[in-house]
């Protein structure tokens, strides 16, 4: 295969990787801090795209305001869910969170489907990138769509900021303290419950952001998160559940590896990530960057 084609594949892989990284980052934040396995994450990603689409249709808002507003709306929706529903399950086994969010996924997907059909008379809709990001960039060795480079850049920056906040700042240490020892943290006058809600909201907003970014590439469709979420789970398992660094690194790496794999042997494209996962688990049951269950 020629080198140029391979490079294009690598770049396309980075675009997919950007979405894997953003989504698995949100999952890692939510799981690492709250021990919630958020099966809804794919549906919330879809909701981000749908909200951007709906804002455009009803209020005439373009891509840029939606890029800010949609994640905020999705994040607020997440806060509402945490306060009203997820909260009730904290004393129980973690699996119940998975089950609840699975049910909510079915609900949300079909609600959006109904909404799209009744309000906008479409079952899926294209979403155009802003004019300033239209066209291509000549990177010297390859020509690549500007919007896709933008997606890679945004994802990388957001991942870096999130990692920095959680690992290096006081906010991060408060969150970690609140989740590792809520009683003592509360004794220091910190409102643990509010922090938990906030963290969940931020994690969910990340999914919403990924959705808005995805809309111009994949178009808006109620089930757009359905297959993606499974791949993202595999990424999270490979990286080590709850590991911020693992989710970002593995997110991008899986995107690129899958793209190269697909170029060499097309049928493997969608399966490669699961094969990788099985291999990693054989060697390291807690993922590449994960700690053993008891170590937390």
């Amino acid at each position: 295969m020629n080198l140029q084609l391979l490079l294009i594949q690598v770049f396309n892989g980075l675009v997919n990787g950007a979405f894997y990284a953003l989504l698995s980052l949100g999952l890692a934040v939510i799981f690492g801090m709250l021990r919630i396995v958020n099966f809804m994450h794919g549906a919330l990603y879809m909701l981000g795209a749908f909200v951007a689409f709906a804002l455009g249709q009803t209020l005439g808002l373009g891509f840029w305001p939606s890029l800010i507003l949609a994640p905020l709306i999705v994040g607020a929706f997440g806060v509402l869910l945490e306060r009203t529903l997820l909260r009730r399950l904290y004393g129980l086994d973690h699996s119940y969170n998975l089950l609840l969010t699975f049910g909510l996924t079915l609900l949300l997907q079909d609600l959006v489907k109904q909404e799209m059909l009744s309000q906008f008379a479409v079952s899926s809709a294209p979403y155009t990138a802003p004019a300033s990001l239209a066209g291509v960039v000549n990177l010297g060795f390859v020509v690549f769509p500007k919007y896709r480079l933008f997606v890679i850049a945004v994802s990388a920056v957001i991942c870096l900021i999130t990692w920095f906040v959680i690992e290096k700042t006081r906010v991060g240490s408060v969150i970690r303290a609140a989740t590792e020892n809520p009683v003592v943290t509360r004794a220091f006058g910190i409102n643990v419950s509010a922090w938990i809600t906030g963290v969940f909201g931020v994690g969910v907003a990340l999914a919403g952001l990924a959705g808005v970014l995805a809309a111009p590439i994949y178009s808006v469709e109620p089930y757009m998160g359905a297959e993606l979420i499974i791949t993202t789970f595999a990424v999270v398992v490979i990286g080590g559940m709850g590991s911020i660094l693992g989710s970002v690194v593995v997110g991008f790496a899986v995107g690129v590896l899958a793209a190269i794999g697909a170029a060499l042997y097309p049928p493997i494209a969608n399966t490669l990530v699961f094969i990788l996962m099985a291999l990693v688990l054989l060697v390291r049951p807690n993922g590449l960057f994960g700690l053993p269950e008891g170590a937390r």
Partner: protein, 316 residues
């Protein structure tokens, strides 16, 4: 997962009576319900019973039982396509699920909790993509259509009713295997592992081996259930391997009652009938099933049978 824990002796009281009632209900089911739907109840019910061996009795939430259901469906379906008689197709489908369960189970029972769920989910996705890609055997997106229905021992399987009663016999066999598994020293050891793995280990059990064996039995029964489903419809669609199937079996089991032997069958009846009503009433299935699931997880975790037997126990 600490599912609904039940006193070991509680259900023995009046067990024979309950078994008779259940048998009677299943015998008349195709008289009150369209037989193909009634057969769906059996197939989904057996899948949920199989899943519950892991979830309710061993504490392992498999989120990938679609894999074995699909292996049974495709295995049985392609055997039928190649002219195998019905019982052989069912045996073959079950065997396909069992064989694949060996590596899957070996790898996944080393993990616990949510890790186990994630790994089984990923394995099921491998099976899904295999079903999608291996078009020579699976028909890819089109699935396997118009499967033959050879008769067996003078039975005519073009008759919906005869098909149902044959399936009921197979179902009963599967349920018996599950019953023997649960009501045996092995089954009690499984529950010990579920309730406290460390303690089970300290009295000399090997939890890993127990979980692996339970995984195999569960996968085999799920495979058998998959062949029943195909036997009922005469087609295999790619949908059998979809992750939604893995989730639906959890709904069915929770709704009927985890950690009860027959609860999942009741759950299957409710979901199959509900889905049928919704599709004819032109209501969005996902919204209603999603809502039922959310409410069950939040307020009704013991399920129909768990709640009922709780009520009975309180009275008696």
């Amino acid at each position: 997962m600490s599912a609904v824990t039940r006193a070991p002796g509680a259900a023995r009281h009046g067990l024979g009576l309950w078994a008779l009632l259940a048998a009677a209900a299943l015998l008349v089911l195709p008289q009150v319900l369209y037989p193909v739907l009634a057969l769906d109840v059996l197939a989904w019910g057996l899948l949920a019973v199989a899943f519950n061996l892991l979830f309710g009795y061993t504490g392992l939430l498999s989120f990938g039982h679609a894999a074995f259901w699909a292996l049974g469906a495709y295995g049985g379906g392609s055997l039928l396509q190649h002219g195998a008689p019905v019982p052989l197709a069912m045996l073959g489908g079950t065997a396909a699920a069992l064989i694949v369960a060996v590596p899957f189970g070996y790898l996944s029972v080393r993990s616990v909790g949510i890790y186990f769920s994630m790994i089984t989910l990923a394995f099921a996705q491998m099976v899904y993509f295999l079903a999608l890609q291996w078009t020579d055997v699976t028909g890819g997106e089109n699935g396997l259509q118009g499967l033959p229905r050879p008769g067996f021992l003078g039975l005519n399987f073009d008759s919906n009713l005869q098909r149902y009663y044959f399936a009921l016999a197979v179902f009963a066999l599967g349920l018996y295997v599950a019953f023997r598994t649960v009501r045996s020293p092995f089954g009690l050891a499984l529950q010990a592992v579920r309730d406290n793995e460390q303690r089970a280990q300290s009295v000399g059990y090997n939890p890993q081996r127990f979980k692996f064996t339970a995984f195999l039995i569960s996968a085999g029964l799920a495979g058998l259930a998959g062949t029943l489903f195909v036997f009922g419809h005469g087609v295999v669609s790619l949908e059998v391997a979809n992750w939604r199937t893995s989730g639906e079996v959890v709904i069915i089991t929770l709704l009927g009652g985890t950690g009860t032997l027959f609860g999942p069958v009741i759950g299957a009846a409710i979901v199959v009938i509900l889905r049928d009503v919704l599709s004819t009433a032109n209501l969005p299935v996902g919204i209603v099933t999603g809502l039922v699931f959310v409410l069950t997880v939040l307020f009704f975790r013991q399920g129909v049978l768990g709640t009922l037997s709780g009520l009975l126990r309180r009275r008696g």
